[in-house]
């Protein structure tokens, strides 16, 4: 379990973390969200013993990171994609960490294969793309086969293909039963992966809820295009859905794609487009993070 209790950290005049408290239960995948400068990285660094808190506590499995028996094998972390010596080969980077962290050296090739870097294992990291460095950072975190993973903005700088790979990869980690705390400033990056979200702003907690709870506050919206717009609009309104125009198309609020599709089929109306709109969840996130924290 990860527990943060009344955590405070000040850098000069800036209060980076301000009385933050939350817990992450074992086996959960939790998104740690907030805009840039919200205090996410500082909180994660305090959790990992890299930054000293002014007050409060941050523990993993009931202990401070440095007090864990084999921290590197119990907690894996990705904090930045730049923690590599450019002149060192990827395999050697992992060997160095495996030795220091008491992880078996045979894990090096296993994690390289897991993140898809086997063929580039003997290349110097200086020649790696940002995406390859992110993969190597994830491989470093997995070296000790930890049950808890703490990932700070792992999708930063990744291209769309890399983001898709990361999403699938995180899903596979969650399926293995690991607890994952993943920070991001973009909800869309993590919404398909996480079970719950902790949202902070200006160092304070603004929301801690499951994804279901968060989604419950969001009405579904569907964009639908039909050559029989007028008839479709009438049928949708009769069914009790709010309908508005969106160019040639209609925006239907409070309906799912299935509901709109079935209604159109029953009424023998032709559809040219039926698109679910997920943007509103992001709107909820933006609304929460734009509020002045209590």
């Amino acid at each position: 379990m990860i527990a943060v209790e009344d955590l405070r950290k000040r850098y000069g005049k800036t209060q980076a973390v301000d009385g933050l408290s939350f817990t992450v239960e074992p086996g959960r995948v939790v998104g740690f969200l907030g805009p840039n400068g919200a205090g996410k990285t500082t909180t994660l660094r305090v959790l990992l013993g890299l930054v000293h808190a002014n007050s409060g506590q941050a523990t993993i499995l009931g202990k401070k990171y440095s007090q864990l028996e084999h921290p590197f094998c119990q907690v894996g972390a990705v904090l930045e994609a730049s923690g590599f010596h450019p002149g060192r080969k990827a395999r050697n980077h992992l060997r160095v960490l495996a030795r220091a962290g008491h992880a078996p050296e045979k894990r090096v090739d296993e994690v390289l294969a897991k993140v898809g870097l086997e063929e580039a294992a003997n290349k110097r990291v200086g020649g790696y793309s940002l995406g390859m460095r992110q993969r190597l950072a994830l491989a470093s975190a997995l070296l000790g086969d930890p049950g808890v993973l703490i990932l700070d903005e792992p999708a930063n700088g990744l291209d769309p293909e890399g983001i898709r790979w990361l999403r699938d990869f995180l899903r596979s980690l969650a399926a293995e039963g690991r607890s994952v705390l993943i920070s991001s400033h973009v909800l869309a990056e993590v919404e398909q992966t996480v079970d719950e979200v902790v949202i902070i702003n200006k160092g304070k907690l603004v929301a801690h809820s499951s994804m279901e709870e968060l989604k419950r506050g969001v009405e579904e919206r569907v964009r639908v295009l039909s050559p029989q717009t007028k008839q479709l609009e009438k049928k949708l309104a009769e069914a009790g859905f709010a309908v508005s125009a969106d160019g040639n198309a209609l925006l239907v609020t409070g309906a799912s794609c299935a509901q709109v599709g079935e209604l159109a089929a029953k009424s023998s109306l032709v559809l040219h487009e039926l698109t679910p709109l997920a943007a509103q969840l992001e709107d909820v996130f933006l609304e929460l993070t734009s509020r002045e924290p209590k």
Partner: protein, 252 residues
């Protein structure tokens, strides 16, 4: 601690810095030794004392050992590898001590190889010039032994100072400015103002000179052992400062 030390040693061996420094050092030593012997008269290189002076060229490796010690530590901040290092070894005391020991060990290997190279070159070049190799026995062995002790201390000093200064270029410039300018300036001030004309013996480079001294009694230098303890004191000071600063500072 053993895991951290093993990891530090692997770090040194898995970048090209080590091999470039070694290659540059060996090329420089070879050039100086061969040119030195070639340009001197036979009578200037015949005695054991003359050849011991040439053997002293190998101690150039001390500077490389100091630089490597600095690189071992400052490289962590330059490339942000201090974060994964501290995640794998959360005990900052272990990291500081492992770096000091790795710096020492590397320095001993480096200086040992340099002295072996000079000895080999003497064995090859001296007969070609018609001079007998005269370094069998105690004085040469003692000199090499004391030089290795100085090397161990310089390697550790470099890694300690690197953790204190953190900026790689700044650390190298500061160390060489100290060795070339500052220490000599302090000695000159101490002598000019007659505060204590012999207090300069306790400065790091003078202490190193004492450890590696080959002549008889020199009132301006400490004894071999006195020099070793004095330089050891500087190493302890740098290591303690590194420990305090690394423990207190945030890694962000």
């Amino acid at each position: 601690m053993i895991a951290a030390l093993s990891s530090e040693w692997l770090k040194i061996r898995t970048t090209r810095t080590f091999f470039w420094l070694l290659t540059a050092l060996f090329a420089l030593i070879t050039l100086i030794v061969v040119a030195g012997i070639a340009t001197r008269h036979k009578q200037d290189i015949s005695s054991a004392r003359d050849q011991l002076d040439i053997l002293g060229i190998g101690s150039l490796a001390l500077f490389i050992a100091l630089i490597m010690g600095l690189v071992i530590s400052t490289g962590e901040f330059r490339h942000s590898t201090i974060t994964p290092t501290l995640l794998a070894t959360p005990s900052r005391t272990s990291v500081v001590i492992a770096k000091a020991l790795a710096g020492s060990f590397f320095a001993v290997v480096l200086v040992g190889l340099a002295e072996a190279l000079v000895t080999l070159e003497l064995l090859i070049v001296l007969p070609a010039k018609g001079v007998d190799f005269a370094l069998q026995g105690g004085p040469a062995a003692r000199f090499i032994g004391w030089t290795l002790i100085a090397a161990a201390l310089w390697g550790a000093l470099g890694s300690g100072l690197g953790l204190v200064i953190r900026n790689q270029i700044g650390a190298v410039v500061a160390c060489f400015a100290w060795l070339i300018i500052v220490e000599n300036l302090i000695i000159a001030i101490l002598r000019t103002h007659a505060i204590d004309s012999r207090a300069g013996r306790f400065l790091p480079d003078q202490a190193t000179g004492a450890i590696m001294r080959t002549g008889g009694h020199n009132p301006d230098l400490l004894s071999h052992l006195g020099g070793a303890f004095t330089l050891g004191g500087w190493v302890a000071l740098a290591t303690f400062a590194a420990l305090v600063l690394l423990s207190r500072r945030d890694v962000s």
